[in-house]
């Protein structure tokens, strides 16, 4: 089977313009007769639903939260990239494209990434027009900062709440369409299946999470914007409710799942403190603009710190190992996420970790505080300021930049990061893999589309910081409104979708059976969370920051056994016809188990190291990732065959016409 990515002909920089000019349109009168379902209301879903409603389609949007404004895009902190070149530092569409391809370790499609870079500037214009309060300079223009893996400042931000501000912008556009009646919003609803009629996606089965009612919704196209699957690992920076079920259900109905093993482990998260922990909290990558990462040079000092006998502030400069600056002098603390995470793991594995568990490194702002303090003293015309005055002034500057993050750190860890360095450790954050889509963002199921983190298309094997927000909004505001027309132009004669069709009947029956099964296990076992934690442990140990063939083979067996035990014994209290969060969780975890297995299979198959996927067998002598372009420059698209263990691998070759494949170097 050959996958057609439908990449338009022509030179890279003309592809999207030409494609847009030739794409088929649906006239306004016909749009009124066409229904579109959007699942998820994060940046991609909310922007898509708002745009499609505005264009005249009848949109139904679904989210499991109590309001569309709560989708997890809201938690994105640091910023959004755009090739505006406002800083006059040599940025351009091409450079953003190139940085993203390189950052992704050459495992993404050139044409998709170029389009992303091309529309990035419009996102900023759009957001500002909606009243998104980005950070500004004193002259009234927008401010920028820098992120990992790049050498320009192209990141727009709103303190540490950029995701919140952009999501509220998209939510306001969505609210406007809801008020007009063009979008019907279903809060506290979860999609449980895709309904296929004549090999096309024709609707969904949804469950009202308050009443338990199972509903049928028909549509001419279904758009999945349901986010990533990082919660496979149980502990991640995702929200508690973030789940992979919509994507997995789509996969089981024929949508290929691409590069499932490409997960992003974010280097700067608050370390795990105990078994009680339900999630991990990110400290924005923007902190690496000013924070310096280090561990003690001497193992003995690390031991003393772990035992509480030595304070980090007592350790003199020459006894500290700023290992990122040492290993990667040209990018220093701003290397891409995968590189920074692996370097932290390497130091901790060698015994240099600095918290009780041995799994933490320092992120230190002392230098930045002094540097900003001196500048501020100059600005204020203070001659010969004392150390203390400089520190005081510098602390204020750092507080203005990162105040909310520092406050959050202090709440969780109970330690003041202005005085002692933060402790951080990598944690699961984002999934580059996802539903396979073509250039039009259509999956291998006709009429089924996937946007944002739910698809696989733009970030290759590693996503650069501040690019997730960019992709979500690009897909929702600027890509799907055009590309969906190409498919829907053939649907103008279809008429309303009949939800009494036998396919809806069958899907609904299947959903009801799954629910019955979960509520009627032998119930001798443990709670849903217990199994979820077990799964997370397997995934983190064997399919986490470093992977090897033996571990992955074991993981596949372990997950299969865990799955069996889960279905036999999981204890789900309550009933089907009431608000029952344990049942909601059980259904999500059931899907995570299958998806986790596929992730391990994909990781096993990909015998190379690239981006977030590090196979211990494939590394250079210096411990850097060893990519194998000859054999593995392809997208792994998995086709479902009745069980995750029987999935079939289909390869989409990646063709690079505009960039030369190089070993990624940040040295």
């Amino acid at each position: 089977m050959i996958l057609d990515s439908k990449i338009p002909e022509g030179p890279l920089e003309r592809k999207w313009q030409n494609h847009k000019a030739n794409i088929r349109l649906v006239n306004p009168a016909n749009k009124r007769n066409i229904d579109v379902i959007v699942v998820g209301t994060g940046l991609a879903g909310a922007s898509a639903a708002a745009s499609l409603g505005e264009m005249g389609y009848n949109v139904k949007a679904f989210c499991f939260q109590d309001s569309p404004r709560r989708a997890h895009s809201i938690a994105a902190q640091g910023g959004i990239n755009a090739a505006k070149n406002y800083q006059n530092d040599g940025d351009s569409v091409y450079r953003l494209f190139y940085d993203t391809i390189k950052g992704g370790d050459y495992r993404s499609r050139e044409a998709n990434v170029y389009r992303l870079a091309e529309v990035s500037a419009n996102i900023i214009d759009q957001a500002v027009a909606q009243g998104v309060p980005f950070a500004r300079e004193y002259g009234g223009n927008l401010d920028n900062r820098s992120f990992g893996g790049v050498q320009v400042s192209r990141t727009f931000y709103a303190k540490g709440q950029t995701g919140q501000q952009l999501l509220l912008g998209a939510y306001s556009a969505l609210s406007r369409q809801i008020a007009k009646g063009k979008v019907k919003m279903y809060n506290r609803h979860e999609m449980l299946d895709i309904v296929m009629v004549d090999d096309k996606a024709r609707g969904i089965i949804a469950r009202n999470l308050v009443t338990g009612e199972i509903q049928r919704h028909g549509a001419h196209a279904v758009v999945l914007a349901s986010g990533g699957y990082g919660n496979v690992f149980f502990l991640s920076t995702n929200a508690m409710g973030s789940n992979g079920s919509a994507a997995w259900k789509a996969h089981k109905k024929g949508a290929h799942f691409a590069n499932p093993c490409f997960t992003q482990i974010h280097p700067t998260c608050i370390p795990v403190s105990g078994d009680h922990q339900s999630k991990l909290t990110l400290m924005s990558e923007s902190l690496r603009n000013d924070g310096r990462i280090w561990v003690p040079k001497d193992r003995k000092d690390a031991e003393a710190i772990r035992a509480g006998k030595l304070k980090p502030t007592d350790l003199p400069e020459e006894k500290r190992d700023y290992y990122l600056e040492r290993r990667y002098p040209s990018f220093g603390n701003l290397v891409p996420r995968d590189v920074a995470s692996r370097a932290a793991k390497e130091r901790c594995d060698e015994g240099y970790g600095v918290n009780a568990t041995g799994e933490a490194v320092y992120l230190d702002f002392a230098d930045a505080i002094m540097r900003y303090g001196r500048t501020e003293a100059n600005v204020q015309g203070i001659d010969n300021p004392s150390e203390e005055k400089i520190k005081e002034l510098g602390t204020k500057v750092v507080e203005a930049k990162y105040g909310n993050l520092f406050a959050m750190y202090e709440k969780i860890v109970d330690d003041n990061p202005y005085q002692t360095p933060m402790m951080i450790y990598p944690a699961v954050h984002y999934t580059m893999g996802g539903i396979w889509v073509d250039y039009n963002l259509m999956t291998s199921v006709p009429g089924l589309f996937a946007l944002g983190e739910a698809n696989f298309s733009d970030h290759g094997a590693n996503r650069l910081g501040a690019s997730a927000l960019m992709q979500g909004l690009a897909d929702g505001y600027f890509v799907i409104p055009y590309t969906i027309g190409e498919y829907l132009a053939d649907e103008i004669r279809t008429g309303e979708i009949d939800t009494n069709h036998e396919a809806f009947e069958a899907s609904e029956k299947e959903v009801r059976e799954t629910i019955d099964k979960l509520l009627n296990t032998e119930g001798n076992g443990k709670s849903v969370d217990y199994y979820h934690k077990q799964l997370g442990r397997i995934m983190w140990d064997k399919c986490g920051m470093a992977r090897n063939a033996q571990g992955l083979q074991e993981a596949i067996k372990d997950i299969e056994a865990l799955r069996k035990e889960f279905w036999q014994n999981v204890r789900v209290p309550g009933g089907a016809n009431e608000m029952n969060p344990e049942l909601d969780k059980a259904m999500r975890v059931a899907d995570f188990m299958e998806l986790g297995q596929l992730m391990c299979m994909d990781a096993l198959e990909r015998e190379e190291s690239c981006g977030g996927h590090f196979r211990e067998e494939f590394q250079t002598e210096e411990g850097e990732a060893l990519r194998r372009d000859e054999e593995f420059a392809f997208v792994s698209a998995w086709k479902y065959n009745g069980d995750p263990g029987k999935a079939e691998l289909i390869k989409e070759d990646l063709v690079f016409e505009n960039v030369e494949l190089k070993t990624r170097s940040y040295k």
């Binding site: 109590d66 009243g131 608000m579 344990e582």
Partner: protein, 250 residues
């Protein structure tokens, strides 16, 4: 630490609720309040009892989904902190903790500690936006400079997470702080000024229709707000409202 919990249990919107007693042992001081609730639920499931329903999602203080009246205070005792960011080190061994849902006519209880805050969505739908299409064909983002002070002020108002603590804290269950935060954000920015008059009238009208009470300048809303949204927003909204009412031709 060991704790006594008095938790509001209510099967659904139409049933009568009551406080029930629970004992919980060995709670880690490092766990968050919601992780303590997770621990309780694990124990209830183990015993075959019904776990307590409460709303939560991001657990990093930004989604606004978590709520809870803890010992009579929305989001509990710590200032500028959502329930999910409240840690058990703020409590002592042997403490009794009262846990109740938000109480307001406009926020009916869905189950146990979970309430329906749909009224907030409907207020935003009545005008909490700039009427601009999503084509991207707008002005260049830097075409209209915005004074930094205005941008910062708008941002501060825009950090509202829509959790509803302000309503829960107010003796009148007024939504003035929530509504004024959105009105302020948009009226401070040039992009929002065009529709400012209609916006404030429509949003206040919707707020009244939803059954929220009036503001009587108690200030509990700002005191309890986990994002420290300022009372100045209410003053600004009152000015906007007065101006819009006088100028309105409607």
């Amino acid at each position: 630490m060991d704790l006594k919990l008095k938790i509001w249990r209510q099967a659904n919107q139409n049933s009568k609720g009551e406080l029930k007693d629970y004992n919980i042992k060995n709670v880690s001081a490092d766990s968050s309040f919601l992780e303590m609730m997770d621990q309780l639920n694990e124990e209830l499931i183990e015993k075959g009892e019904d776990p307590v329903v409460f709303d939560h999602d991001c657990r990093e203080g930004i989604c606004g989904m978590c709520s809870l009246h803890i010992n009579g205070e929305p989001h509990g005792p710590e200032n500028a902190t959502t329930t999910c960011q409240l840690h058990m080190r703020k409590f002592k061994d042997g403490d009794t903790i009262f846990i109740e849902p938000w109480r307001a006519r406009a926020f009916p209880v869905v189950k146990d500690l979970s309430v329906d805050r749909g009224a907030f969505d409907r207020i935003i739908q009545s005008g909490g936006y700039v009427s601009v299409n999503t084509s991207g064909n707008t002005l260049d983002a830097n075409a209209l400079p915005v004074p930094k002070a205005d941008a910062d002020e708008a941002f501060n108002a825009a950090t509202c997470i829509g959790c509803g603590a302000c309503v829960a804290a107010c003796p009148n269950a007024s939504a003035m702080l929530f509504v004024s935060a959105k009105v302020s954000q948009l009226s401070l920015l040039p992009q929002g000024k065009v529709e400012a008059k209609d916006r404030v009238l429509n949003m206040v009208n919707q707020m009244d229709l939803e059954g929220f009470g009036n503001c009587s300048n108690v200030g509990a809303c700002a005191e309890e707000c986990p994002k420290e949204i300022s009372l100045e927003n209410i003053a600004r909204m009152n000015r906007e409202y007065l101006g819009a009412s006088l100028a309105s031709s409607k």
